[in-house]
């Protein structure tokens, strides 16, 4: 099954009430299939074919505030166009679920994948989860609704899947039974929906005397959501047999050198790790799955014995470097024994990164860690 189709099937299993969406490559197959499911009467939902992504997220605000289970999907420029609305969803505590088929940002125009769009919404207050394959996309879409709607959380959730490299893959995927999903995912019960029987004012403006407190409350809420996220992943694992963690490790034990990735390239990196292990090198891999709230503790635990960490960022913060590498440095700085962190930027705009490339990146990273470099980061694979 194509991964995009599987995501739509997960939304159907979650029995979403409203889908407001606008087509954009490489996310289009998700909303096309949802439109089809609604048209065939297989999913009882309102499908709102809006005229832009800005209106997609705006309509999602409305339906979620009315108490309806709400889903949308977007990518790249679409996420940019809805940018201001994305902040509002989390600040107003509207538990929308959104799949993002990660895509590069113009210009030059590129419909292909990287993590530039993700990095532009880092600070928006959403729970953000990276998935690596189709099964994870399905499982985490279902989990996302439960996390978002849990009374202790009430926050929107983004599920990031790599555009094309993952969204358009055809893989064997297990779709859970409807009955089991129904047992796992209770009826959405928004605490104070827009309802004339119990009027509420939502979205009042905040003068300076209140604004800081509003942001403080939001931050506390997002930080505290982590324990609920862990609890829900555990419950999902107990029921369906597949467990998820904020930081996922692969052959991390006794490693001098670790590579950090996010998203579907992680599986490619695993192949490089296997090869290097076979040739006797102590190399391992870890991936950030829970991007927000940021998994400080888990990262510190994971890397505590490593001497070198090589990071491959699929985005560039122009004038600064790799954003994920920068966040990792920030997380590890308070440690007394800090590993060296070597940042690479690669896989931009759909450029493939093969297992051999990963081996080259890891080796180059080890060289830089040993000998130093006069650059803060390197862009991998530039054709000169």
């Amino acid at each position: 099954m194509e991964v995009s189709i599987a995501v739509s099937e997960a939304v159907k299993l979650a029995n979403a009430d409203v889908i407001a969406a606008y087509p954009i490559t490489p996310q289009t197959h998700i909303v096309e299939h949802l439109a089809e499911l609604v048209a065939q009467g297989e999913l009882d939902a309102e499908y709102v074919p809006v005229e832009s992504e800005h209106s997609a997220m705006s309509a999602c605000l409305g339906s979620s505030a009315a108490g309806a289970r709400t889903f949308t999907a977007t990518a790249g420029q679409g996420l940019e166009l809805m940018h201001e609305v994305v902040y509002v969803a989390s600040a107003m505590r509207l538990p929308i679920v959104m799949a993002v088929a990660n895509r590069a940002i113009s210009s030059p125009l590129s419909v292909w994948g990287d993590h530039s769009d993700v990095m532009s919404v880092r600070d928006t207050g959403w729970i953000q989860i990276f998935v690596e394959n189709g099964q994870e996309a399905v499982d985490n879409t279902i989990c996302a609704f439960r996390m978002a709607e849990d009374a202790r959380v009430i926050l929107p959730v983004m599920v990031h899947l790599d555009g094309l490299h993952l969204s358009h893959m055809v893989e064997p995927i297990l779709l859970p039974d409807q009955k089991e999903v129904d047992e796992f995912l209770p009826q959405f019960n928004y605490p104070l929906p827009l309802n004339p029987n119990k009027p509420v004012t939502m979205g009042a403006f905040a003068p300076p005397v209140v604004f800081t407190e509003a942001k403080w409350a939001q931050e506390m809420n997002l930080e505290k959501s982590k324990e609920v996220i862990l609890e829900i992943w555990k419950k999902f694992g107990d029921k369906f047999g597949r467990y998820y963690n904020p930081v996922e490790c692969y052959r991390c034990q006794d490693c001098d050198t670790l590579i950090m990735t996010m998203g579907s390239f992680s599986e490619t990196a695993m192949m490089a790790v296997d090869r290097m292990r076979e040739s006797g090198q102590k190399v391992g891999l870890f991936r950030i799955r829970l991007w927000r709230p940021f998994p400080y503790e888990e990262l510190r635990r994971t890397v505590k014995n490593a001497k070198t960490i090589v990071v491959l960022d699929r985005a560039i913060s122009l004038g600064m470097g790799g954003p994920a590498a920068s966040e990792l440095r920030n997380a590890l700085y308070p440690l007394e024994k800090r590993p060296k962190i070597v940042g690479f930027v690669g896989g931009l705009g759909g450029r493939d990164v093969s297992p051999t490339d990963f081996e080259t990146i890891i080796r180059r990273g080890m060289e830089i860690a040993a000998g130093g470099s006069n650059r803060e980061f390197e862009i991998y694979g530039v054709r000169e």
Partner: protein
Amino acid sequence: MSKQTTVDAKERFAPGHRACIGCAEALAVRMVCKVLGDNVIIANATGCMEIVSSQMPFTSWTVPWIHTLFDNTAAVASGIESGLKALTRKGVRDMSGFKVVAMGGDGATLDIGLQALSGAMERGHNMLYICFDNEAYMNTGIQRSSSTPYGAATTTSPAGKASIGQFTWKKNLPAIAAAHDIPYVATACPSYHRDLAMKVKKGMEVKGPAYIQILSPCPTGWRCPTDNAVEVGRAAVQCGMFPLYEVENGKYKINVVPESLKPVAEYLKSQGRFRHLSETDINKIQQKVNQNWGKLKELATN
């Protein structure tokens, strides 16, 4: 007053809001809310009415009300309406008796939110959109919008040696709304409160999108005395600058037909924003108003 247009004594736009003295937009909102009743959900754009009515932790709204952003109110209302439909159909909660009403100023409606409004009208959501038209961005300090009339001085269309002030003619949004083939479009003004109440009632009763544009005189921005916003509104209608009409299923009807249009000069001279206009400028405006009135009458007779 006929029974149909008798309005409710209950206030739903509570006193204590922070509108400027003499604000006819607050008056219009108050009148509108009396007709809307309790079974509504309001989505409000950023703008004067949002700012004066909702400073945390206070609210002037006795009905469910949501504000999110400046440019997206019709889309938010689309989402609410879709949510209510889904919840009702799926048996979660019966929301079938409630109407979604969107509100925005002329900036939020004619300019920055026009795409969202067009989308919502085109998709046919069952919602009433009300534009409170005070003919400029008053909330941010009197900047021109596409609804500002020709010749008006604002802070971004100042009059000067090289400028007449606003150099474009007021955008005709009711015509744009009518071009979407929606069941109900109307213009109104709180100076004609029975007409306004009748139109809001129709907008509520119609199934599908309805658009009402309410001229809301703004003494602060129009530079007129704070005790005559109602008179200024009446003058705008009487001189044909802001005719009151409705378009019901494509059929135009002029609701207030003056025996003969009053000269626009009288209306223009009552406000500081037009103070700089010469006789020639006023004649130019008069010609345009005559022309538009003629077109409207033609539409209403067909």
